[in-house]
């Protein structure tokens, strides 16, 4: 199995994400520069966080025009897994590989803190490691993370089970207090209809080692486990 981590100019969570795959999950993983236009040798792709093109114009919009994006679209057509984390999520939205938009946080500030998330859908290659409705902890760190879709689209996301994670308060309620950025319906992660592309604002790679988390949890790595495990099953078939 070989995982690609795409690097755009300004990506800055590439090394962190690489470390989780190589050191913790012991999976083959390679950096791929955004000027590449072929991803056929890979089994999964991660778009890590950062500030591609310095968030100029709008987070993710310039990166969405990189050569690698066409290759990514072809990759997605083959139903291979793609995860976009933070700026990666913004790029997937701008590339129209995922629905919706990511707007400036409702408090108009960058927000870096640990949040509680509820697994809304575990029938998915990215979250099947978790029990349905389980509460997990990860940090967020973003300026433009307020997920937005209109009501009609929101109904569609609900119907198709595309809402994967929601921000909740410490006891699991989808409340205003639990929503750190003003996202519609507290949405923290969505997938495409086919279920092979996931975008999330929280950083699972920062929640993969007990020593880095305030409460020793390692929920973030569960997301990557799910993907790797699902792929292994698939590759054996």
């Amino acid at each position: 199995m070989n995982v690609a981590i795409i690097q755009f100019p300004g990506t800055n969570c590439d090394i962190d994400t690489h470390r989780v795959f190589s050191n913790l999950l012991k999976v083959d993983v390679s950096f791929v520069w955004h000027k590449e236009n072929d991803l056929t040798n890979f089994d999964a792709v991660v778009l890590p966080g950062g500030f591609s093109y310095g968030d100029r114009l709008r987070a993710g919009v310039i990166a969405a025009h990189s050569p690698v994006i066409q290759a990514l679209k072809n990759f997605s057509l083959k139903r291979k897994p793609i995860i976009g984390i933070c700026n990666g999520f913004q790029i997937l939205v701008e590339s129209e590989l995922l629905p919706g938009a990511l707007l400036k946080n409702s408090n108009q500030k960058f927000v870096c803190k640990w949040v509680t998330l509820k697994v809304e859908n575990n029938n998915n290659i990215f979250t099947n490691y978790f029990k349905s409705n389980s509460l997990i902890r990860m940090p967020i760190a973003h300026n433009e993370g307020r997920y937005y879709v209109d009501n009609e689209k929101l109904d569609e996301l609900e119907r198709n089970n595309q809402i994967i994670l929601r921000y909740v308060n410490s006891i699991g309620n989808t409340s205003i207090q639990g929503n750190p950025n003003g996202s519609v319906s507290n949405i923290a992660a969505v997938s495409n209809v086919e279920g092979n592309v996931l975008g999330l604002m929280p950083h699972p790679e920062r929640a993969s080692e007990a020593i880095l988390s305030p409460d020793s949890s390692t929920d973030g790595i569960g997301l990557f486990y799910s993907m790797i495990h699902s792929l292994e099953v698939l590759l054996k078939k």
């Binding site: 969570c13 940090p139 920062r206 880095l212």
Partner: protein, 734 residues
């Protein structure tokens, strides 16, 4: 108007005379502009250099001390740590966003210039009080500037301090510490050693921003609007690319020297690399990529446009280096070469327009200012507050004062997690802990205390070093080196220079005693309140770095019921002068004295006790006294405590003195009852006393005086109160 003033230069007439005598001819305008930048206080340290030699700079881990881009420490197994501190006070005072952002950018470049990757940033910020809208504007935009820059380049901002005092009303202080990590074999210096090597300028194009930036930092802030163009323009995205391109270029092995372009721009970079390398340089200004047309030669030479690095490349290997730059689509140009002439020669349109000996430019004549003890230090102005009748109101008022209150409004705007190495995060202790390899960690803190330093420059400054060390000890680390940043008023004021002198003496004395080498620092003069024409309080800011081997030795201030007994190590004295409590009460008294021996032994006791696993949570006890330290521990652990004040070792009689005294050499820690005797034995070896003052448990922070409950507060309520203190001020209206 003198000739120099009419040329808008800050050189003095005697300096001009010195230059022209040395050259044996008149210097032209381009040459004088170069000299003006390099001989500014900011670049030349002409007022402080001779005193700074007092600081101890040698130590078993020190590979490179002050005088280079960054201090370098050996942390074993071929790994090195690099450290640097910079301030951007004047730029931040007039353009808080751009000034603070480029302050971060500058210190990152220094860490990069020595061949290491920036690992983390800390800031020490000082403003006037937040009841003034201008100070709120400064705080809001300084924080946003640091956040936007650090977050974008992907270097975590992991800690720091923020304090408020009227003396910083128009002259805020913005200090940035950066720590970097790399391999010893990849170290590179800011030297041009080999004639024939090629000079390549990488990065941002040169524009008119930051013209006279270093000269402007070397005088008072008198004309805010016309000085605004002296502030540089930040570009963190380009910086991120420069970091990656530089590290890629260094890995080719064809770089023989590297220098960042900071204060004084190209003029300073060229003279420093040739002076350090004992060579010369020749550059052609027509080769420099410009952002705007019709810039004159002197502007090109002294522009402080950001995001530029000067590479000294082995002759014949320009291609390998330019390939590394091309990957990131960064602009670069070959601007000249290294010579053996010991002169900096600048050509423009085929003509030599400047030709100066390197040792002249690089060595400004030193100044020795007169000094006199300030009069106010000899007048006794001590006054004690009336004993407050409402204890609860008083305690909450002190704990929620912006200087002591939680800084979460600030650090939530900083990405403190990127890099996935931040182990002890902002708010969890007085120091931050970062992982540098599987079982090796560094601790870093930054501290200042101008209130103490104003009333007693010697004890104040030594105390700041001690406090910063205690923060390092508290997380379980062994202090290995420090940086100092000395911020004062105009050095030609004899009272200011006296306090500067005392400060350096104090830092040198205590660092020598504690065996803590200084590996770098910075001096910033001319910090004055424009409205009152008074200098700022003496503000030495100290950053200490420590090393931790083994994750089981890491401690925070988070208490829990596994270690139920609370102890206070050290004695509490009636030393409230300069305390946060007295500044709220508008009173004055004697400043905490630092007893070097007791301080060192107390630190050793705590360090040893952590190593053998006796201590659970540990917190330094200084600003805001034991009350603030205790409340920080409750809030971090989200659990209550009951403490009996009468158990505290003290000669004080009043509750407010006991709770708010800022005496040095104290820690609060938690232990298991079965370990009491073990700890007592260690403490006897060091001749240090401690007492059990209470226990962990419940939902309230409760203070007893014998059997009387004098204070209680629900910990959640207290957290909300203390956490929202700054956000209430900043997010409500203007």
């Amino acid at each position: 108007m003198s000739k120099l003033e009419s040329l808008n230069l800050s050189l003095t007439n005697s300096e001009l005379e010195y230059i022209e005598t040395y050259l044996n001819r008149q210097a032209n305008f381009v040459e004088l502009s170069m000299m003006d930048a390099q001989w500014s206080e900011h670049c030349s340290y002409k007022s402080s250099k001779s005193l700074l030699t007092l600081l101890p700079t040698k130590g078993k881990r020190v590979l490179l001390g002050p005088g280079y881009e960054a201090g370098v420490l050996d942390v074993d197994n071929g790994q090195i740590l690099t450290l640097h501190i910079e301030s951007h006070n004047h730029p931040s005072a007039i353009d808080p966003y751009g000034g603070a952002a480029t302050g971060v950018g500058g210190v990152l470049r220094d860490i990069l210039a020595i061949g290491t990757r920036p690992l983390a940033i800390l800031d020490s910020l000082r403003f006037g009080k937040l009841d003034n809208p201008n100070n709120k504007w400064l705080l809001r935009n300084v924080v946003r500037g640091i956040a936007d820059y650090g977050n974008c380049v992907g270097i975590p901002t992991v800690g720091g301090e923020v304090a408020f005092d009227d003396c910083f009303e128009t002259n805020c202080l913005v200090d940035v510490v950066c720590v970097g990590i790399g391999k010893r074999k990849n170290l590179v210096f800011s030297e041009a050693k080999n004639p024939g090597d090629v000079l390549i300028l990488l990065g941002g194009k040169t524009g008119r921003d930051g013209i006279h930036g270093s000269s402007f930092a070397s005088k008072g802030l008198d004309n805010v609007d016309s000085d605004r163009s002296a502030v540089q323009i930040p570009d963190p995205f380009t910086k991120k690319l420069i970091i990656e391109a530089t590290l890629d270029a260094l890995s080719t092995g064809f770089i023989s020297g590297l220098k960042d372009l900071g204060g004084g721009g190209l003029a300073c970079a060229l003279s420093e690399v040739s002076d350090k390398g004992n060579t010369g340089v020749e550059v052609d200004l027509n080769r420099i990529l410009l952002r705007e047309s019709n810039m004159d030669a002197s502007e090109v030479l002294i522009s402080e446009s950001q995001e530029r690095m000067l590479f000294i490349v082995k002759n014949g290997h320009e291609i390998e280096i330019s390939n590394a730059f091309a990957k990131y689509d960064l602009p670069y140009s070959i601007i000249g070469k290294v010579t053996n002439t010991k002169r900096v020669v600048v050509k423009h349109n085929g003509n030599v327009i400047a030709d100066l000996p390197t040792d002249l430019i690089a060595n400004a004549p030193l100044l020795n200012w007169p000094k006199t003890k300030p009069l106010y230090l000899d007048s006794d102005s001590s006054s004690k507050p009336d004993l407050p009748s409402d204890i609860k109101e008083t305690i909450l008022r002190v704990l929620s004062s912006p200087t002591l209150a939680s800084k979460s409004w600030i650090f939530k705007q900083y990405d403190h997690e990127v890099g996935t190495n931040t182990v002890v995060k902002p708010g969890e202790s007085g120091a931050s802990v970062l992982r540098i390899s599987k079982e090796k960690f560094i601790a870093i803190s930054v501290d200042g205390n101008p209130s103490h330093c104003f009333l007693d420059p010697y004890n104040g400054a030594a105390g700041v070093v001690a406090e910063s060390m205690r923060n390092i000890i508290s997380v379980g680390a062994e202090p290995i080196a420090m940086l100092d940043h000395l911020q004062f008023g105009n050095p030609s004021n004899p009272e200011v220079f006296w306090t500067f002198n005392e400060t350096i003496k104090a830092i040198s004395d205590f660092c020598s005693y504690a065996d803590l080498p200084c590996v770098g620092g910075k001096v910033s003069f001319y910090n004055e309140n424009v409205k009152t024409n008074k200098p700022i309080k003496p503000t030495p800011v100290i950053s200490v770095v420590g090393l931790i081997k083994g994750s089981n030795n890491i401690r925070t201030r988070k208490i829990n019921e596994l270690y139920p007994l609370i102890i206070l190590i050290g004695e509490t004295f009636d030393e409230l002068g300069g305390s946060e409590y007295y500044s709220i009460m508008n009173c004055s008294g004697s400043v905490p004295k630092l007893n070097f021996e007791i301080e060192k032994n107390t630190q050793k006791l705590v360090h040893d006790a952590i190593k053998v696993g006796l201590l659970g949570a540990v917190n330094d006890c200084s600003k805001g006294g034991m009350m603030n330290s205790l409340s920080q521990m409750c809030m971090a652990g989200n659990v209550g405590v009951t403490v009996d004040m009468s158990k505290i070792l003290t000669s004080c009689k009043r509750w407010d003195d006991i709770l708010f005294s800022e005496s040095h050499s104290r820690f609060i820690a938690t232990i298991k009852s079965e370990n009491y005797t073990n700890l007592l034995n260690i403490s006897r070896n060091y001749n240090i006393s401690f007492s059990v003052i209470g226990s962990v448990g419940g939902d309230e922070l409760r203070i007893l005086n014998n059997d009387d409950l004098i204070f209680s507060s629900d910990v959640n309520y207290l957290s909300d109160f203390v956490y929202s203190s700054i956000s209430k001020i900043m997010d409500d209206g203007i």
